[in-house]
């Protein structure tokens, strides 16, 4: 059985705190895999270990057969592993269109390209790709606005567009609907379902159970740095250990 992402025996401690213990997680290609768990369970730490922001103490993270540990963030991106952040990480001084053109350029130009004499006005393909990605998330009407001036929910959708425009083979989404209205949340769910049909694998960290159960093919539950359960949505719903972790833990 081959997995697109294979996390083996990952441990991470911060001082005396065991943030992740013996994490084993396999993501199948073409699926949506949700990671849920109470606050402080280690969900974001796990994602950070995958994209090179944190280096795990032990263990391996293998993506498409390549070891990701110790790789530079830009190389991980070009390997096809892209993350959408929990707090919007955008370019606030640039218009929305340029915010999306930049990841599209990264996909085309690689980690470095020196082309000071080329005009931006000639980048029609890149601009069209960026406009399409903005239209996908419903932000095309704001394309000339500065990204720093839009609402928090819009910033989250902008980030999603920045991830989608790169057509990654695996997209890591950290609470993609946090801070969105119910209406926008439903639109985002529809969008993610549509993208699934294009064959993009996704890992979603989410608090909103409505989102998790309407999207995920598989769910893993993280509590106190350990994976306590993994399975289909139906298996997870009936699992007593999961119910205990949630009732004994933080808010659902």
């Amino acid at each position: 059985m081959s997995y697109i992402l294979d996390i083996q025996n990952v441990n991470k401690t911060f001082g005396g705190l065991h943030a992740l213990s013996e994490i084993n997680l396999q993501i199948e290609e073409g699926t949506i895999h949700a990671i849920i768990g109470p606050n402080g369970a280690g969900k974001s730490t796990l994602l950070n270990c995958c994209i090179g922001r944190l280096v795990p103490d032990t263990g391996t993270v293998t993506f498409n057969g390549r070891n990701m540990i110790g790789m530079q963030p830009w190389d991980i991106n070009h390997a096809g592993l892209v993350r959408v952040f929990q707090t919007p990480e955008i370019f606030p001084d640039l218009p929305l269109l340029q915010n999306v053109m930049i990841p599209a350029l990264a996909k085309r130009d690689g980690t470095f390209k020196f082309n000071p004499l080329r005009s931006l006005a000639q980048e029609n393909t890149i601009r069209d790709e960026a406009m399409q990605a903005l239209a996908d998330v419903g932000l095309d009407s704001l394309s000339d606005q500065h990204a720093g001036s839009i609402s928090r929910g819009d910033k989250r959708r902008l980030e999603l567009a920045m991830g989608l425009v790169q057509h990654p083979s695996l997209l890591l989404l950290d609470e993609p609907t946090a801070g969105m209205s119910r209406h926008d949340t439903n639109r985002t769910i529809d969008l993610l379902k549509q993208i699934k049909e294009r064959g993009m694998t996704k890992v979603i960290i989410e608090h909103d159970m409505h989102v998790v159960f309407s999207l995920a093919d598989k769910i893993s539950v993280l509590a106190q740095g350990r994976i306590i359960a993994s399975g289909t949505p139906d298996e997870i719903r009936g699992n007593p250990k999961v119910q205990e972790a949630y009732l004994g833990g933080a808010e659902l």
Partner: protein, 382 residues
């Protein structure tokens, strides 16, 4: 379009500069040279946000290289300028490579340290190359191998030469003006290129750029080297218009001056740095020449007592006190219009345009609202 207007304004400078009392070729040369220095500096500071405090070092390297080219090869300015740009670029690669390992204030301090080191070396151990405190000059007995081979003799005062055109007075200004226009054209291209957009994105959120798939350090190094080469070119122009190179050109005050010019005019804007450079050089050369006599003439229309009062009030701000006026102007701009002179001009333009539609319809109100977030975003950035 903007390039055409810019070219026209620069080439007609001798005509309009007379109106503001700056119609001297020496001063116009300074406008062009420091404008070029500031344009280049803006490519680093304005686009990437990396504040270098050591760009005067490249100015010095450009000047010394030019004078050495005059001494060893030829009084022709073309090889001199080419060598100056290449050598300052080479130094920029080395200094940039080391300094860009740090960001923020540490980067600034590293660049400052490198520049001060070179300044001190120019005065001490490098005296055989720089001629120390006296400064490096062109002498009649210098080898000038190319000129000798072509049978060109140095006559009288050594001056730069562009295929028979002597670099003095207005011909020197026009040489600087053409170089300035080319420099502005290149800066315009960089601003409007994907490369330039990526530099602004690094300023906006460098970490995000790395997770977006860009290795940011080569981008920063490229911007650093380009701006270093502009500084070298400006330094070379100084030596072309006056074949003399002194170490004081590399002092930290010269590095600070280009920062002031850029901020005064408008960081990250196309025209701001040139406006800033021209403003500072204007104050330095024209305002500092005002004395009580000039003031007496200016307030002559008032009754005698008032004339006396006005002259007493204003005299500390002119002549030797021109730094005071510049300081006050600088504070006013930083506090009230952080976007510099360019933002000030834009605001005035908007006020003039905005007052018309408001009188006709409410559409003016909407226009103001749609503009507001943009200015907020800019305010955050600064």
């Amino acid at each position: 379009m903007i390039l055409v207007i810019f070219t026209a304004v620069v080439l007609t400078a001798p005509l309009w500069a007379k109106l503001i009392g700056a119609g001297y070729p020496d001063l116009l040369q300074k406008f062009a040279i420091f404008g070029l220095f500031a344009i280049g500096y803006n490519i680093l500071f304005g686009l990437t946000g990396y504040l270098s405090f050591g760009h005067a070092a490249f100015l010095g390297i450009g000047s010394y290289t030019t004078v050495w080219s005059f001494k060893l090869l030829s009084m022709n300015v073309v090889p001199a300028v080419i060598f100056a740009v290449l050598l300052s670029g080479l130094f920029a690669v080395a200094i940039g490579y080391l300094s860009l390992r740090r960001t923020g204030i540490y980067f600034s301090i590293l660049t400052l340290a490198f520049a001060q080191m070179m300044y001190n070396m120019a005065y001490s151990v490098l005296t055989p190359i720089t001629n120390g405190e006296t400064g490096l000059r062109v002498l009649v007995e210098d080898p000038r191998v190319i000129d000798r081979a072509l049978g060109i003799q140095l006559q009288g005062v050594p001056l730069g030469d562009f295929f028979g055109i002597t670099m003095t007075g207005y011909s020197a200004f026009y040489f600087c003006a053409v170089v300035l226009i080319l420099g502005f054209w290149l800066s315009l291209k960089i601003f409007r290129s994907p490369f330039g957009m990526k530099l602004v994105a690094i300023k906006s959120n460098q970490t995000r750029m790395e997770y977006t798939g860009f290795n940011t350090r080569p981008y920063l190094l490229a911007a650093f080297v380009i701006s270093g080469m502009y500084a070298g070119l400006a330094g070379s122009m100084m030596a072309v218009t006056d074949p003399l190179a002194g170490a004081e050109r590399m002092q930290w005050t010269a590095s600070g001056e280009v920062v002031l010019m850029t901020i005064l005019g408008g960081v990250g804007t196309l025209l701001g740095p040139i406006l800033g450079a021209a403003t500072i050089k204007y104050f330095e050369n024209i305002f500092s020449a005002f004395n009580e006599q000039v003031l007496n003439q200016a307030f002559d229309f008032l009754p005698d007592v008032l004339t006396h009062i006005m002259v007493t009030i204003t005299s500390p701000f002119v002549g030797e006190g021109w730094h005071l006026t510049l300081g006050v102007l600088f504070m006013i701009i930083i506090i009230f219009i952080p976007g510099g002179l360019v933002e000030g001009i834009n605001r005035i333009g908007k006020m003039l345009r905005g007052s018309k539609p408001e009188a006709e319809e409410k559409s003016g109100e909407e226009a103001v609202q749609s503009v507001e977030p943009e200015t907020v975003a800019k305010g955050d950035a600064s």
